[in-house]
C-alpha cells in the first residue's frame, strides 16, 4: 500500500513555542488513521498544515503523491474532504443551500448533494435552516460537506466533539464504513483513546508536538504486556513465599501482580501456597491496558 500522506520533519512554531516538532507522518492508502494525542498536543495544527490552513515553519508535506506548495495546494485538495474542529456552516441558510455553496466551488454536480445527505442521514432536514440544527446534525452536515465529490482522502479533526453517545456511535460507524464502501482513506484525530481504538486501523500518537508512536493498532495492542494477578486469603504471607522463590511481585487492590509466568511455574507457586495453608481465591491473566500504554508514551493522563 502506498502512502497517501507523508510529512517529513514537519515543524510549526508559534512565537517562541514549537507546537509541532519534526513530525514524520505516514498515512497509508485505504486505512482509517487515528491521530491521537492529549489536548494541545498539536493534532489540529498538524491537520491544518496538511490542508494548507497554517504554514509549516519547516518540513515538507506530500499528499496523494505530490509535495504540497502554495501553487498546487488547491488542485491537490480537490481530492480531499475536511472537517476541522467545529463544522463550518451558514446558519441562516438551509442544509441544502450550504452544500450547494461547496459543491459549486468544488465543481461537483448538484445531484451529489442528495447522495451525501443520504450518507449522513440528513435528507429529511435538507430544507431546514442550519441554525436550527442540533450539534450532532451540524457535525453530520460538516461530514456531508467533506464527502462532496467523493474525495480520496478525508481529514477529520475531532469529528465526535460535542456529540451525545448515540451521535458518537453513529459517527464512528460512518467513519469506519468509508474505506470499504467508498474506497476513502480517513485521517481522524481524537484525544479519546477508546474512540481511536474502535475506529482506526492505524495509529499515530502525538505528544507535545512529537510523534511518539506510529504503526498499526494491532502493534499498539501487542505492546501491552500480559501479567498474572493472584488473590489469596493472606497476601502478606504469599508475598514472602514468592520472595523466597526469587519472584518479584507487587500488591494492588488486594491482588498480587506478577509478570507473565509459564503455566508450570505458576502452578508450582500455587501449590506452595496450598502447602502453607494460604487459600487462593482468584487467578487472572491481565494485560496492560491501552490507557497504560498511552500514558507511558505520552506521560499525560488520558481522557476517557
Amino acid at each position: 500500500m502506498s502512502d497517501i500522506i507523508t510529512t517529513t520533519g514537519l515543524c510549526k512554531r508559534y512565537g517562541k513555542v514549537l507546537r509541532v516538532k519534526d513530525l514524520d507522518l505516514k498515512v497509508q492508502e485505504g486505512v482509517v488513521y487515528g491521530f491521537l494525542g492529549p489536548n494541545g498536543a498539536g493534532k489540529s495544527t498538524t491537520m491544518k498544515m496538511i490542508l494548507g490552513l497554517a504554514r509549516p515553519t519547516a518540513g515538507t508535506i506530500t499528499v496523494l503523491g505530490k509535495e504540497v506548495n502554495s501553487r498546487n495546494r488547491l488542485s491537490i485538495l480537490k481530492d480531499v474532504g475536511s472537517l476541522i474542529e467545529s463544522p463550518s456552516y451558514y446558519g441562516h441558510l438551509t442544509g441544502g443551500e450550504n452544500l450547494r455553496i461547496i459543491s459549486t466551488l468544488k465543481g461537483v454536480p448538484d445531484k451529489d448533494i442528495d447522495r451525501v445527505l443520504q450518507i449522513v442521514r440528513l435528507e429529511n432536514q435538507k430544507e431546514k435552516k442550519v441554525g436550527q440544527y442540533s450539534m450532532g446534525m451540524k457535525q453530520r452536515l460538516g461530514l456531508a460537506c467533506a464527502l462532496l465529490g467523493n474525495p480520496k482522502l478525508l481529514i477529520l479533526d475531532e469529528p465526535t466533539n460535542g456529540l451525545d453517545p448515540a451521535g458518537i456511535q453513529e459517527m464512528r460507524e460512518l467513519i469506519c464504513s468509508l474505506p470499504q464502501q467508498y474506497g476513502m482513506t480517513v485521517m481522524v484525530s481524537s484525544h479519546l483513546l477508546s474512540e481511536i481504538d474502535q475506529m482506526a486501523t492505524n495509529v499515530g500518537i502525538i505528544s507535545h508536538g512529537e510523534l511518539v508512536f506510529q504503526d498499526s493498532l494491532s502493534t499498539l495492542h501487542e505492546k501491552s504486556r500480559p501479567g498474572i494477578a493472584v488473590r489469596t486469603l493472606n497476601n502478606e504471607a504469599a508475598v514472602k513465599i514468592l520472595e523466597e522463590q526469587g519472584v518479584f511481585c507487587r500488591t494492588q487492590d488486594g491482588y498480587l501482580l506478577l509478570s507473565k509466568l509459564a503455566d508450570k511455574e505458576l502452578a508450582g507457586y500455587i501449590s506452595l501456597f496450598f502447602d502453607r495453608h494460604i487459600g487462593v481465591v482468584r487467578i487472572e491473566e491481565r494485560r496492560e491496558s491501552l490507557e497504560d500504554i498511552f500514558l507511558e508514551l505520552t506521560g499525560t493522563a488520558v481522557s476517557l
Binding site: 488547491l74 476541522i84 463550518s88 451558514y90 441562516h92 459549486t104 466551488l105
Partner: protein
C-alpha cells in the same frame, strides 16, 4: 470569478442587505421633500446645484455607516459559522476577497444610482430650472462611488480581520463623523482623512450673502489631484488588505 460573485449573493440570502440601502434612500427622499418644499423661484433656478452641494454632506455621514454595515453583513457570516477554514480549502483566499468586495461594491453602486434617480425625479417633479446637468451628475456618480468603494474596501478588510464586528462598525461610525467634522478645516487637512473625500471631491461651492441672506451656488473646478490621491489610497488598501487576509492563518 463570476461563480464566486454569484455565491456571495447566494450566501447573503435572507440577510436583507438591500434593506440598508433602501432605508438610506428613504431617508434621503424625505430629506429632499423637506428641502425642496421650502424653495422659492431663486432656489429652483439652482435646484440641481443645491442637490449636488447638499448630498455630499449627507453622504459623508451616511455612506461610511452604510459601507460599514454592508461590509460587516457580508463578512460576519464567515466568522459566525467558521467557514473561512472550509472555504480556504476549496477556493483561493484572494478570489474570496475580490468576490466579497465586488458584491458589496454593487450594493454601494446601486445606492448612488438610486440617489441619482431620486435627484432627477425630485428635480422634474418640483420643476428645477433647465435640464438635469448630466455631465455633473456623472461626476457625482464617479466621485461618490469612488469614495464609497474605498471606504467599503477598508471596512471589508477590518471586518474580515476582526471577528468582533464592533471594531469595524465603530471605525465606520467615527470615520463618518470625522469626515463631516473635517470639512470645517482647511482642505489640506481634509485630504489626509479617507472619510473627508466626499468633501474634497465636491464640485459645487456656496456663497451666502450675510446682508441679503441669499444663497448662491456655483460650480467649482474638479479636484483631480484629490481623485488621484483617493485612487492611490484604494490601491494601497486593496494590496495591503488582501495580503493580510490571504496570509492569515486559520
Amino acid at each position: 470569478m463570476r461563480k464566486a460573485l454569484a455565491l456571495e449573493f447566494h450566501k447573503i440570502r435572507r440577510r436583507r442587505v438591500w434593506m440598508i440601502v433602501t432605508a438610506m434612500i428613504l431617508v434621503q427622499i424625505l430629506w429632499s421633500i423637506w428641502g425642496v418644499g421650502r424653495m422659492d423661484a431663486h432656489d429652483l433656478s439652482q435646484g440641481w446645484m443645491f442637490f449636488l452641494y447638499q448630498l455630499p454632506l449627507l453622504n459623508s455621514i451616511m455612506m461610511p455607516v452604510i459601507a460599514a454595515v454592508v461590509a460587516s453583513r457580508l463578512c460576519d457570516i464567515e466568522h459566525k459559522g467558521q467557514t473561512l477554514k472550509l472555504l480556504n480549502t476549496v477556493m483561493p483566499a484572494g478570489r474570496l476577497f475580490a468576490a466579497k468586495f465586488l458584491c458589496g461594491a454593487l450594493y454601494m453602486l446601486s445606492a448612488v444610482l438610486l440617489q441619482l434617480i431620486v435627484i432627477v425625479a425630485v428635480g422634474y417633479a418640483v420643476g428645477f430650472e433647465g435640464n438635469p446637468p448630466f455631465d455633473k451628475l456623472f461626476y457625482y456618480l464617479l466621485f461618490t462611488t469612488a469614495v464609497n468603494l474605498t471606504i467599503l474596501l477598508l471596512q471589508q478588510v477590518l471586518s474580515l480581520l476582526f471577528v468582533n464586528q464592533m471594531i469595524p462598525l465603530t471605525v465606520g461610525l467615527i470615520g463618518g463623523f470625522a469626515g463631516l467634522f473635517i470639512m470645517f478645516f482647511p482642505q489640506n487637512l481634509e485630504r489626509l482623512l479617507l472619510w473627508g473625500y466626499y468633501g474634497v471631491l465636491m464640485f459645487v461651492g456656496m456663497n451666502w450673502d450675510r446682508s441679503t441672506h441669499i444663497t448662491d451656488f456655483y460650480y467649482a473646478p474638479v479636484d483631480w489631484a484629490g481623485f488621484i490621491t483617493l485612487a492611490v489610497m484604494f490601491c494601497a488598501i486593496y494590496i495591503i488588505g488582501r495580503a493580510l487576509f490571504v496570509r492569515k492563518e486559520m
